[in-house]
Amino acid sequence: MMDALPTPADVQEALVSVEHLRVEFGAGEAMVVGVDDVSFSVGPGETLCVVGESGSGKSVTSLSLMRLVEFGGGRIATGSITFKRVAGDSLDIAKVDPEFMRSLRGAEIGMIFQEPMTSLNPVFTIERQLTDGLRAHLGLSAAAARTRALELMNNVRIPEPERRLKQYPHELSGGMRQRVVIAMAMACKPRLLIADEPTTALDVTIQAEILALIDRLKRDNGMAVLFITHDMAVVAQMADRVVVMHRGRIVEEGPVRQIFESPRADYTRMLLSAVPKLGEMRGKTAPEAMQGLSAQPRAQPASRAKKDDINDILLEVRNLTTRFPVKGGVFRRTVANVHAVEDVSFSIRVGETLALVGESGCGKSTTGRSILRLTEAHSGEVWLDGWEVLKLPPVDLRRARREMQMVFQDPFASLNPYRRLRDQVAEPLENFGLGSRSEIDERVATLFDRVELPRSFLKRFPHELSGGQRQRIAIARAIATHPKLVIADEAVSALDVSVQAQVLNLLMDLQADLGLSYLFISHDMAVVERISHKVGVMYLGRIVEFGPRAAVFEDPRHGYTKSLLSAVPIADPRKRRIHEAQGARTMASPIFPLNYQPAPSLYDEVSPGHLVLRPEAGSLWSG
């Protein structure tokens, strides 16, 4: 496949070629340049990945190709976008009439967006949304459009297409919706498909399926794909050629192997070194800091926790169960329960990181929240340093919370927009009355030093900070009271990779210095492999596999763990693993009737400390 790699297409051959594109937003003093001097081309049947972090201009570029950038307040200032049409003639998309552009969109250029929730209209059936485009662009009759819609549904491998056509978007899972969106984009057999972060909102196993689907559709139809992503691993799996963007400009362009194996630009090198690669921790027992972010090699944090220290169990969770009622009927009675967390047990030692990993809805976040009692558990025990957390009266619960703090996923939402950063970090200190005002000021300032933020930020508001800086504030707040346990709920998921690597290193440094224990909740297997001592894999509310990091990653025993690990894209174009499974897997539901008695979680110990859920309790897994 790599041999058939197209040479950088020259302008005559190229399906679309962008030259010196400059897009501006606003006017006068407030003018912002979205992208500047961007040139690249996409050949027929080629996948070009545009990769970059937030603010790199990758989405602006893709929206310009559809002339949708104008609807976002942008303006193509200079440059040309030459598109070769089916008929053979060429036109400059940057200059065509907006009305004419409408006939091109959807017909010759298809587009898929990031959010499968919002790119379908919730009030129309799938059939209506699919056939509308067909009838408008191809002038098909109602019956012919329906036949074609069915064909498309089959083409994107949606099970039971007849039934799905009658359904509304909310009745479909995220992966199904994205398949429908792809079917809509493919409806008129476009020659160019623009995919803007099409799998970012999806779980990793669903992502693998969607990537394989796009790859097959491209090969079957000889379609060119312009793939926009922030994820180097996805790039390695999908791209023929790669364009790396940074701050609105192209920093490097080349064939995928060249970009990954001999990157020329410093930025590309930094980006690649910041990506944790699944499997690179093979044979290592302790977490390891990310290298290559700065000029000097990084000293590995020496674990402060001594051998006898690490034997102390800090947190012990026994048979934790959390359920949410499902209300229904006229009287809003409880008609069923969501078994979000079902009979989960584990323990964390002092100075140790336990990672809970799984896909959305598996109960990993609820587990963390139940331990902190932000969500009340249904049953079970949580022992923190001799306290039975679930039974504590409110007064003692506050005291126990001093020992366990949380870092949330979204650094934009977890800081109060109306409070200065000093006050945000001082919050727990003030709540627990830890010192006078001047003592708190002093402590907050040292915390800023600790998380490597300048003290000049003390008086600022959250909106003045970048995502990574905000997450540092959230971490400073979490460690302010010298807690023993920090629960990090997808704490690095919303960050750009380079920032993610820095925050991961910060977390590891803090652990080494302060002897912290982490409950690290994440969906990202590669990140988990980096940071954890132990791993619990969750599926449908249960831990299906638990053990030392090396055991779980190098010798996965449960079917779900295996499928999860095989679905993770690897940031190495030589290790392509994108292949389409037969038929999309449907996720089992964690909703059970009120009188349902779940079986207890029983485990087999396959090696010391490596536990695998017995099939009788986890019979829900059908992999």
Binding site: R401, Q405, Q409, L415, E427, N431, R477
Partner: protein, 271 residues
């Protein structure tokens, strides 16, 4: 960085300043006697050099009356909205924050109040308390409180589940601190907008009550009373309605325009 002092803000502030200036100074410079003096020979005169804004059915100078009416109308509206805030804000905060039974009880009460037309509600309260301006203020304030309580509760429900509120809870914040430090500032923007809109309705509600003899008592003037009085002469002397109507419109316009700015001033993101 957004500019706070836009043209819109300046116009808004200018309007509010003008109305406030009139409300404060008109009663000092225009004696009550001048505003109440009847010119029996000059009834329903259109605006002219002598009577700049015309006269009403009793030959009273509309300019004097509208200027003296500003203080009455504004003070009633502002006090009434403050009362509705005083009642609605804690109600909505408690209902939205604690949810459950207390929310159900409070919100059914609010729904019951909302199911009556505002004016009817104000009328009943006013009639029970007796006709006077302070009672009219209380009546309007109580009648408007359920609307604010609803808006406040909705906002609290939105904000209370924000991660920063959870983060503060996890950081050991007590309920009172959560409400005052974390929730209240974040729900203020829509509350400010709602309150400025309520001011306009309060001016009109006062008119309704006065018309029924339960608010401002003649011969004292208020904008609402003037609009009500003009009702019978709309075809022959439309200015009798237009003059107080324009005063209400300009005030509300000014309040709404500056209400947005007020909201932005509270928001650190716009600095």
């Amino acid at each position: 960085m957004k500019r706070l002092l836009t043209i819109k803000a300046l116009i808004g502030f200018a309007l509010v300043a003008m109305v406030l200036g009139v409300a404060i100074f008109a009663p000092i410079f225009i004696p009550e006697e001048a505003a109440n003096r009847m010119h029996m020979t000059a009834r329903l005169k259109s605006p002219s050099g002598l009577y700049w804004l015309g006269t009403d059915q009793l030959g009273r100078d509309l300019l004097f009356r509208v200027m003296r009416g500003a203080r009455t109308s504004l003070s009633i509206a502002v006090s009434a909205v403050l009362i509705s805030l005083l009642l609605g804000l804690p109600l909505g905060l408690i209902a939205g924050f604690y949810r459950g039974a207390i929310d159900n009880v409070l919100m059914r009460l609010v729904d019951t109040l909302l199911s009556f037309p505002v004016l009817l509600l104000a009328l009943v309260i006013s009639a029970m308390l007796g006709p006077s301006i302070p009672n009219a203020i209380i009546a309007i304030g109580v009648a408007f409180a359920p609307f604010l309580a609803r808006v406040v509760r909705g906002e609290v429900l939105r904000v209370v589940q924000m991660p920063y509120v959870e983060a503060a809870r996890a950081a050991g914040a007590r309920d009172q601190r959560l409400i005052v430090r974390h929730i209240l500032p974040n729900i203020m923007p829509p509350i400010i907008v709602q309150a400025t809109i309520s001011l306009a309705f309060a001016i009109l509600a006062e008119a309704g009550l006065s018309f029924l003899g339960l608010g401002t008592q003649p011969p004292q003037s208020s904008w609402g009373l003037m609009i009500q009085a003009s009702r019978d002469y709309l075809d022959v002397a439309p200015w009798t309605a237009l003059v107080p109507g324009a005063a209400v419109a300009l005030t509300v316009l000014g309040l709404n325009m500056s209400g947005d700015i007020l909201r932005d001033i509270f928001d650190p993101r716009s600095k």
